[in-house]
């Protein structure tokens, strides 16, 4: 068991999957000699060579589209979109093609690709290096969407994604890359897709988050503990398919729920969680389901003061918990 940063966990899991399965290839912008702008693929080029670690031109649509074709012809591509903010040119390939290939062929063609992409704010990335884009993709049946929050889960979920027979969008929160460390087994362990995790037990309020927000939710639960509020925290981990059972069993017990997400509030992923819980757990609720999310401006601004204003903080979550606890 080694203590690794989040980015080290990604890198070692990628390397171990490439050793395990010669069909796994990595392609994207700067993923080769440079090892990726965040060094997620550092060392892979040296170990596996230019045929399996491919520096592409600046062509997001090609990166995904060629991955789809390569997957059809026997490979397991792990394309990287350098920043989630730049995924838009590939949207058609992801949504019209990868997500629908199995359905539209009546189950005869599959598309086993895992699209990795760094996302999220709090890193001075401004409008185009900070976005949270999961809601665009969780809307689409046929795609799996994964957002790990710990080095352990990053490694285990990445392995499961690569081995999965269907397309997976694997979003990695940039702020976690080097700020979070944790124990990661040296084995080829996996963490199953579609399973949320209760990361803190509590009795009065359920707080649901993912990515950086899974950490902020834990911090917020600590903040309110001394005030006698017992908050349970759930890390969603796989946004789609959603582990509704874990969410429902918690909310039916606590009767109160705060959903936290970094993306703009209106129409964000947490809105869907909130709607589902309202439908499925209404009889158990003792207060409104609250959403703590980013403000509805087009993106994260750059200046320190503005970025601070945009981001969800543990304090903001704690305030929502207190408000809800008062019901």
């Amino acid at each position: 068991m080694a203590v690794r940063t989040f980015i080290e966990a990604i890198r070692t899991a990628l390397a171990s999957e490439m050793r395990r399965d010669p069909a796994v290839i990595v392609l994207g912008e700067d993923v080769g000699v440079k090892g990726g702008v965040f060094l997620a693929t550092d060392g892979l080029f040296g170990e596996f060579g230019p045929e399996r670690v491919i520096d592409t031109p600046l062509t997001e649509s090609l990166i995904v589209g060629a991955s789809i074709g390569a997957a059809v012809n026997g490979l397991r591509p792990v394309p990287e979109i350098q920043f989630a903010d730049f995924i838009m040119p590939a949207f058609n390939q992801i949504v019209s093609e990868a997500a629908r290939m199995r359905y539209r062929s009546n189950g005869t063609f599959g598309c086993p690709i895992t699209i990795r992409s760094p996302f999220g704010g709090g890193v001075h990335g401004a409008l185009y290096h900070s976005q949270s884009l999961e809601a665009f993709f969780t809307h689409v049946p046929g795609l799996k969407v994964v957002i790990p929050s710990t080095p352990h889960d990053a490694a285990g979920l990445l392995r499961s994604s690569i081995r999965d027979p269907d397309p997976v969008l694997f979003f990695e929160h940039k702020k976690l890359y080097r700020s979070v460390r944790g124990e990661v087994p040296d084995s080829d362990f996996t963490v199953p897709l579609g399973k949320a995790q209760v990361t803190r037990s509590g009795t009065q309020i359920t707080v649901i988050g993912y990515g950086l927000m899974a950490h902020h939710a834990l911090d917020a639960a600590d903040l309110v503990e001394s005030e006698g509020i017992s908050a349970e925290v759930i890390d969603v981990r796989t946004l789609r398919p959603l582990d509704l059972d874990t969410l429902l069993s918690s909310v039916r017990r606590t009767g109160k729920c705060v959903v936290v997400y970094e993306d703009n509030k209106f129409g964000g992923y947490g809105a869907e969680i909130s709607a589902i819980l309202a439908e499925e757990a209404f009889d158990f609720l003792d207060g409104p389901i609250l959403r703590v999310a980013g403000p509805d401006v087009p993106a994260v601004p750059y200046a320190q003061t503005l970025e601070e204003w945009f981001m969800v903080h543990p304090d903001t979550i704690a305030d929502a918990i207190r408000r809800l606890a008062a019901y």
């Binding site: 399996r52 789809i68 009546n106 189950g107």
Partner: protein, 341 residues
């Protein structure tokens, strides 16, 4: 078509073929046309909601695709590829099953509009409607072929309208950089639905663009089946040798409206339509084979009768097959446990 009297004419020998090959190609052009015409009859008689046609493209498709190796290579088609998919192994029944949207339609189980071909059995990749997306899949198939050393070639077809999409540029550029075993076939019929060439591009030939990607671009007369055959063979051989991609532009004609929901007399003049019909590969090829002594009245009639029987059989058989059960519509969103994927 086993017939001891069929030998090797001068025309066939010129192309390194036997008369049997020429007759096979002729039959495919005739067959594709006959199925296509049947699809329109079904549409106009209320039995099929939609038709998208390959009429006018068949000669180019049969000629070019004939050199692909079934069972090894990949065909990444588009919605006018009816003759191409027949050449590569799909059957009249397969196509009529899609036209009737039947549950066992091998392309999509009745989920897609007709004309969205696909067959896992024949290495024909499933097709979507957004144009030019399929180029990148062909490039990826070729990339995997190169990495895995399979000796496969991927061939994809598109219209000239699609050549203005960004995916065209991204795909050809990457294929050129890595000298991938892929052939891009632009079937230029002069119209992107209603928009003529003059409003699509500022150059006369799409094939010119290949120069910007570092591989050959070839213009071929789509009404000349054997010229298309030569262009296809050369490009496919070149790809298989590891010498990289080719862009083939076949100048074809669109004999029908864009689809059954289009009225092309609104934007094409009677003269244009007449000129377009004169560029139909089918009568040209028929005459060429007659002149070469490959085709004579008896053989022609035998092929016509055999094709009619095949189309009738496919129509009747497909119509009798059950429609998809709505309970199946939830299936295959993701791989199903215990089902090979």
């Amino acid at each position: 078509m086993a017939d001891a009297s069929i030998g090797t004419s001068e025309l066939a020998a010129e192309h390194g073929l036997h008369d049997e090959d020429l007759l096979r190609m002729y039959r495919l052009v005739v067959l594709a046309r006959a199925i296509d015409e049947r699809m329109w009859v079904l549409n106009r008689s209320g039995k099929a909601a939609f038709v998208i046609s390959g009429q006018g493209h068949e000669g180019a498709q049969v000629g070019i695709v004939s050199s692909l190796r079934p069972g090894l290579d990949w065909l990444v088609p588009y919605y006018r590829s009816i003759a191409a998919v027949l050449t590569f192994g799909m059957t009249p029944r397969d196509i009529l099953m899609a036209q009737f949207a039947r549950g066992d339609d091998p392309s999509s189980g009745g989920r897609q509009m007709p004309g969205h071909y696909g067959s896992v059995e024949h290495n024909v990749l499933t097709t979507s409607s957004p144009v030019a997306t399929q180029l990148l899949h062909a490039v990826g198939i070729a990339l995997a072929a190169k990495i895995r050393g399979t000796g496969q070639v991927a061939l994809t077809e598109l219209g000239e309208g699609s050549s203005n999409q960004g995916d065209f540029h991204e795909g050809l550029n990457f294929a050129g950089v890595h000298r991938l075993p892929v052939v891009f076939v632009v079937e230029n019929n002069g119209y992107a639905i209603s928009v003529p060439m003059s409003l699509q591009v500022a150059i006369p030939d799409i094939a010119t663009r290949a120069a910007a990607y570092g591989f050959p671009g070839v213009v071929v007369d789509g009404s000349d089946v054997l010229a298309c055959y030569r262009a296809g063979r050369e490009a496919i051989d070149r790809a298989r040798r590891g010498d990289g991609p080719t862009l083939i532009e076949a100048k074809v004609t669109r004999l029908t409206p864009h689809s059954s929901d289009d009225q092309q007399t609104k934007y094409r003049s009677p003269e244009d339509l007449t000129a377009g019909r004169e560029r139909d590969a089918l009568p040209w090829f028929r005459q060429q084979l007659r002149d070469a002594g490959v085709l004579h009245e008896e053989r022609e009639a035998a092929i016509a009768a055999e094709v009619k029987a095949a189309v009738d059989d496919a129509t009747d058989w497909a119509e009798e097959q059950p429609e998809p059960d709505p309970s199946a519509a939830l299936r295959h969103v993701f791989a199903e446990r215990g089902v090979a994927s």
